[in-house]
């Protein structure tokens, strides 16, 4: 007989073990899907999760993808911890990229050490401003932040499209929908010759450290956590809820903006229509998989980055669409949320008792 009991306290080991359980269940589920589609599941999973990182170049690509994912997820963890549902990080990323890219074009042909920091800063501010729209509408006009932040993703995408097709398109570009290649001074340097991994990874790591400081060592961090656990308590304690909502949105927007500007000044080097393969949405999964914990998010970003690489490899070797990565990402989140049940409930396997027969 199976008996389900409510747990009185959550054990920390289970709290960090369930994400690992979720990953294994995802691999199992993925194997089943590949089998149904007519592939050898083990071989397909090998193409998906092992082949991409079996050489140095692949490993560098993993870090290239994890860099923006981790950065955005760190920002989102501030929102999610305080029960603010910013799901428009993709839009904030694109808008940060637009602002940063605009400044990079402005400095076209300029040399100087100051160029890149200005571009990066403007990208962060761009993302921050864009995230403040849903935050201000939520706090002062009571508007649902989920829908507003999401609608703004489409607006940002169309704005980017307009700019790269129209006013910002490369004058020597034969009408391709892209801007000029930024000058060398506007590019984040790569760390090793021949690999794409770039210095943007340090921005991510510094942000991780800062967010850990804010969340665990400051009063603001404490307020954020309390508001997430109980809004009533937060109100009773006299926290300024409105200011806090705007601050967490600003932090997460700035992170997404940084990720955007990091992409365009790092691996991409110009603006075009597809500056992000939905990093902003995928980072939501990263944030949850990492348990909204800065260190957890680092590991989660590596795992989710692997689904991107895996989808690319599988596209080449198995001819499955690149969206396959999203199937895996969705499954990870399903299994993760589902296995949270184990956090709150104990499942006891009891022997059959005679009186129950």
């Amino acid at each position: 007989m199976i008996k389900i009991e409510k747990r009185n306290d959550v054990s920390p080991s289970i709290y960090f073990l369930t994400p690992i359980l979720a990953i294994f269940l995802t691999l199992f589920g993925g194997g089943i899907i590949f089998y149904v589609l007519g592939f050898n599941p083990l071989e397909a999973l090998k193409f998906f999760f092992i082949t991409p990182i079996s050489d140095l170049y692949g490993f560098s690509e993993l870090l290239v993808k994890a860099t923006p994912l981790c950065l955005i997820a760190i920002g989102l963890s501030f929102c999610f911890k305080s029960n603010n549902w910013n799901i428009g990080a993709e839009g904030q990323l694109i808008f940060g990229g637009i602002v940063g890219g605009g400044v990079a074009l402005l400095f076209y042909g300029h040399d100087g050490f100051y160029v890149l920091p200005i571009i990066i800063l403007s990208g962060a501010i761009g993302g921050m401003i864009f995230a403040m729209i849903p935050a201000v509408l939520k706090t002062y006009l009571n508007t649902n932040e989920i829908l507003v932040s999401l609608m703004l993703v489409y607006v940002a995408k169309l704005l980017l499209d307009y700019l790269v097709v129209g006013p910002w398109s490369n004058p020597e570009g034969f009408n391709f929908p892209e801007t000029r290649q930024f000058s060398e001074s506007a590019r984040i340097p790569v760390l090793f010759d021949g690999l794409r991994i770039h210095a943007g990874i340090f921005i991510t790591l510094i942000t991780v450290f800062l967010s850990w400081l804010i969340l665990y060592k400051t009063y603001l961090g404490f307020q954020i956590k309390v508001s997430g656990l109980s809004l009533k308590t937060a109100k009773y304690a006299g926290y300024k809820g409105k200011t806090m909502i705007i601050i967490v949105f600003m932090i997460s927007g700035a992170c997404a903006g940084l990720a955007g500007v990091g992409e365009i000044t790092g691996p991409i080097g110009q603006l075009h229509r597809n500056i992000s393969p939905d990093y902003g949405f995928t980072a939501i999964i990263v944030a949850f998989l990492g348990r909204l914990n800065p260190v957890g998010i680092i590991f989660a970003s590596l795992i989710v980055a692997l689904t991107y690489l895996g989808a690319e490899t599988a596209q080449i070797f198995l001819q499955v669409p690149k969206y396959t990565g999203q199937v895996f990402q969705g499954m990870i989140l399903f299994f993760l949320l589902g296995s949270d049940y184990l956090l709150f409930f104990k499942i006891k396997f009891l022997g059959l008792k005679k009186n129950e027969l």
């Binding site: 989920i146 829908l147 609608m151 949405f281 939501i284 001819q319 990565g325 999203q326 989140l333």
Partner: protein
């Protein structure tokens, strides 16, 4: 452009057609939300409906099976959401997002072999009446059976919620699951049913897109309509009739935007395409400003996890 009454009729007919997926998805989601469940997976369920409808049309060559199959697929995928949120008590927002991401990925995987296949002509009713009656003809006649169903649905939903016992139970569950449960209502069962119904309607909305509106399969072809449908439910303050009005307004913006592009106004195409999204935000702001009015109609337990101690 001369004033042409018949042209306006055709325009209105086009607006009606473009609002159908929104009406279907929003009406389904409305029932789900009325029972206290917030399912953000509308976009994912719609796209799954779109590909399964199209795939079944190609495989069986039978439109009835295609439409039915799309509803069943929407329903099946919503079971995932039901099991997670109702049985495993997961967070509604996160689970819904996962459903959308999963649905978009899954639909592309299934749809890989269906890209570029031409659709089949969907039978339209009363076509001769449409052509023979000026103005009213193109408005009332010459549509698919799904469109007529979609325009009836808000009224049926309204009647169902207000006048039937099951409707009352759903509203009770949404407003106060604890009291409903104390009255002997199985809250989990009611919520499961509402989730499945919402899934089926979203599936149908997707099939309308891939079988009738733009009869073909394109990756990501729902293009954010699921999210607009979610916004519509808020816009309508959970009232079915207002869903109809809202969907027509959004359909109107979409068609207007297409016509403005066709006429060649000197406005960037992208700005016009952004109109429906910007309008959604503006409308949400206007509606939500009055927090009392919102609170009056919002299902009180919306998005909250209900757990009954056994």
């Amino acid at each position: 452009m001369s004033f042409d009454l018949n042209f306006i009729g055709i325009l209105i007919g086009a607006i009606m057609a473009s609002s159908v997926p929104l009406i279907l998805a929003a009406s389904g989601e409305l029932i789900t939300e009325r029972s206290g469940v917030l399912n953000l997976g509308v976009e994912g369920m719609m796209i799954i409906g779109a590909i399964s409808g199209f795939a079944l049309m190609v495989i069986t060559d039978n439109l009835f099976f295609a439409v039915l199959g799309s509803m069943i697929s929407g329903l099946i995928i919503s079971i995932i959401f039901g099991v997670l949120t109702q049985s495993l008590l997961t967070n509604h927002v996160a689970t819904g997002l996962a459903l959308t991401i999963f649905g978009i990925g899954m639909s592309a995987m299934i749809g890989k072999n269906f890209v570029g296949i031409p659709g089949k002509e969907f039978p339209l009713l009363f076509v001769n009446l449409k052509e023979n009656i000026p103005f009213l003809g193109p408005i009332i006649f010459g549509h698919s059976v799904i469109l007529y169903f979609a325009f009836l649905l808000p009224f049926l939903t309204n009647y169902f919620l207000r006048k039937t016992k099951i409707g009352l139970i759903i509203r009770a569950v949404g407003d106060s699951p604890t009291s409903a449960s104390n009255q002997g209502i199985n809250v989990t069962l009611v919520r499961y049913s509402c989730i499945l119904y919402g899934g089926a309607m979203c599936g149908l909305a997707g099939a309308y897109l891939s079988l009738i509106y733009t009869p073909q399969w394109i990756e990501n072809m729902t293009g954010g309509r699921g999210w607009i449908a979610l916004a519509l439910v808020v816009f309508a303050t959970w009232s079915p009739i207002k869903v109809l009005i809202g969907a027509l307004i959004f359909g109107g913006i979409t068609i207007l935007q297409l016509h403005m592009q066709a006429v060649g106004l000197r406005i960037p195409v992208q700005l016009l395409s952004a109109l429906p999204y910007i309008m959604t935000i503006i409308v949400l702001v206007v509606i939500s400003r009055d927090s009392r009015k919102i609170k009056l109609n919002t299902p009180t337990s919306l998005g909250q996890i209900f757990y009954k101690e056994k």
